[in-house]
């Protein structure tokens, strides 16, 4: 049996380390193993280093590093299979729930919102993180790891942005813009310039980048998706006519035409004043300086689908809550007086976007004036 010298052992250990084995425990294992092989097979007449080089390839398929990588994989993935299971279950569940939720939404069935929230929360906070952790462990290059992280963040952010948009929650547009920013300025550059350098992946990278660019471009295109301008205009026009008719009726002296119940006259004017004040309050809540009310109203009336719901205005301590209650009571009293139903409910107003609220109030004003002038 050949006995290795200290220099030879040091040489082997250094070489193992140079070949990418960093775990000390593993270095010791391999060193002993290689020494055993040399002790049994080496005869002193051969060149030691050449012999060592000739037996080393027995330990791997591509490079010695494989052993270290495999060990890392097994050590860090004690719960690898549990993670995989959770990933597949959460992924399958959220995929089907999104589909079912969409069906509910399209059919206007109750529960769609809950399904969406559940599905997208699972997708963004469970499925994608686990998927990226597993994928990251499989990669060795830092660049590939960053690509995976960027892709996962983009996936989570865009899903949440869509959820926020569908639910009319605040900050949806900010989230949407950030997601697209991550896609265009973080993910795509790293992915593209990383992949294009390698001749093997060059074509694939170019094709995928084109697909991602087009998909991202399409998403960017619908960033400000709302009704067409003609549609906007039509709604604003209709609203203007309501306001004009209301103003015409307000200026008209009711006693000129018909004999009007005197209290109705009085009550109508009172009620209209109340509603007008609420309108001013609502408008000034979004207008910066409160001076340019007319412009603020115009902007408000133009916005609809993309505008978030202004529920906090009507919250218990919101600026409009008490006023809305007073108006509701007065509308009821007025209905009794005029012996006609107006069909207006303060509850409807509470959950609407601000532009809808203003429109609703305008319509109410017109109705009151019409009632006032037709009641005799």
């Amino acid at each position: 049996m050949y006995v290795l010298t200290d220099e030879q052992i040091a040489f082997i250990r250094n070489d193992i380390r140079r070949n990418g084995i960093e775990l000390e425990e593993l270095q010791l294992d391999l060193l002993d193993h290689i020494c055993c092989v040399i002790e049994t097979e080496y005869t002193a007449e051969n060149n030691f280093e050449a012999f060592y080089r000739s037996i080393l390839p027995r330990f791997y398929k591509r490079s010695l590093r494989e052993i270290e990588e495999e060990t890392h994989l097994l050590l860090t993935f004690k719960n690898y299979y549990a993670m995989k299971k959770i990933m597949i279950i959460s992924g399958t569940f959220s995929a089907f729930t999104v589909l079912i939720g969409s069906l509910f939404k399209v059919m206007h069935w109750p529960g769609a919102a809950m399904l969406f929230v559940l599905a997208i929360a699972l997708f963004s906070f469970v499925f994608l993180p686990i998927l990226s952790v597993i994928r990251i462990k499989e990669q060795t290059k830092t660049k590939d790891k960053i690509v995976i992280i960027a892709a996962a963040i983009f996936g989570s952010a865009i899903s949440l942005a869509i959820l926020f948009k569908v639910m009319h929650w605040p900050f949806a547009n900010i989230l949407w813009t950030i997601s697209l920013g991550i896609l265009f300025f973080l993910f795509l550059p790293i992915y593209f310039f990383g992949g294009i350098r390698n001749p093997e992946t060059k074509t694939n990278t170019i094709v995928s980048s084109i697909l991602i660019l087009i998909a991202g471009g399409l998403l960017f295109l619908i960033t400000n998706l709302r009704g067409s301008h003609a549609f906007d205009e039509a709604i604003v026009n209709a609203d203007q006519q309501i306001v004009e008719n209301y103003q015409l009726l307000s200026q008209k002296n009711p006693s000129d035409t018909v004999a009007i119940h005197p209290t109705i006259n009085e009550k109508a004017t009172e009620l209209c004043a109340l509603i007008e004040t609420l309108k001013v309050k609502l408008t000034s809540s979004v207008s910066n300086d409160g001076k340019d009310m007319k412009e603020a109203t115009a902007v408000l009336l133009k916005g609809h689908l993309t505008e978030p719901i202004q529920t906090q205005l009507f919250d218990k301590n919101g600026i409009a809550s008490a006023r809305l209650k007073t108006i509701q009571l007065n509308v009821k009293a007025f209905e009794k007086l005029a012996n006609t139903k107006i069909n207006w409910n303060a509850q409807q107003v509470k959950d609407l976007p601000l532009s809808y609220v203003l429109r609703n109030l305008n319509l109410l004003l017109l109705r009151i004036r019409i009632l006032q002038h037709t009641n005799h």
Binding site: T5, L28, D29, L31, H33, C35, E66, E70, L73
Partner: protein, 112 residues
């Protein structure tokens, strides 16, 4: 020699059985012993053996002993008391698996 896919699925069982039967063994000894016992039909690769040994150690199934051998260090692996149970389970499971495979592949030696 059998394909690496077949050996991969049984590697843990082989290691645990060997270490249960022997007090303690080092890596080279394990590969050598397996090769010897199977007449060279099963040759464990180092690339599979050491990662598995380290994983089993991390799970508390194996423990290690460090011994100076001449001018280098040798790591001996042995089964912990907890690991003995796992070893028995693994061997039993594989034995049942074998029975099932024999039945499934219709390998029962025919009588007469």
């Amino acid at each position: 020699m059998y394909s690496s896919e077949l050996i991969k699925g049984t590697l843990k069982t082989i290691i645990l059985k060997l270490l249960s039967d022997n007090d303690k063994m080092y890596g080279y000894e394990i590969t050598h012993k397996v090769k010897e016992l199977t007449g060279g039909k099963i040759q464990l690769t180092e690339g599979a053996l050491y990662p598995t040994l380290h994983a089993l150690e991390a799970q508390g199934i194996l423990s290690t002993d460090v011994v100076n051998v001449g001018n280098r260090i040798r790591k001996y692996y042995s089964v912990t008391p907890n690991g003995k149970k796992v070893a028995t389970e693994k061997v039993n499971e594989f034995s049942e698996f074998l029975d099932t495979m024999i039945f499934l592949l219709d390998l029962q030696p025919k009588l007469g």
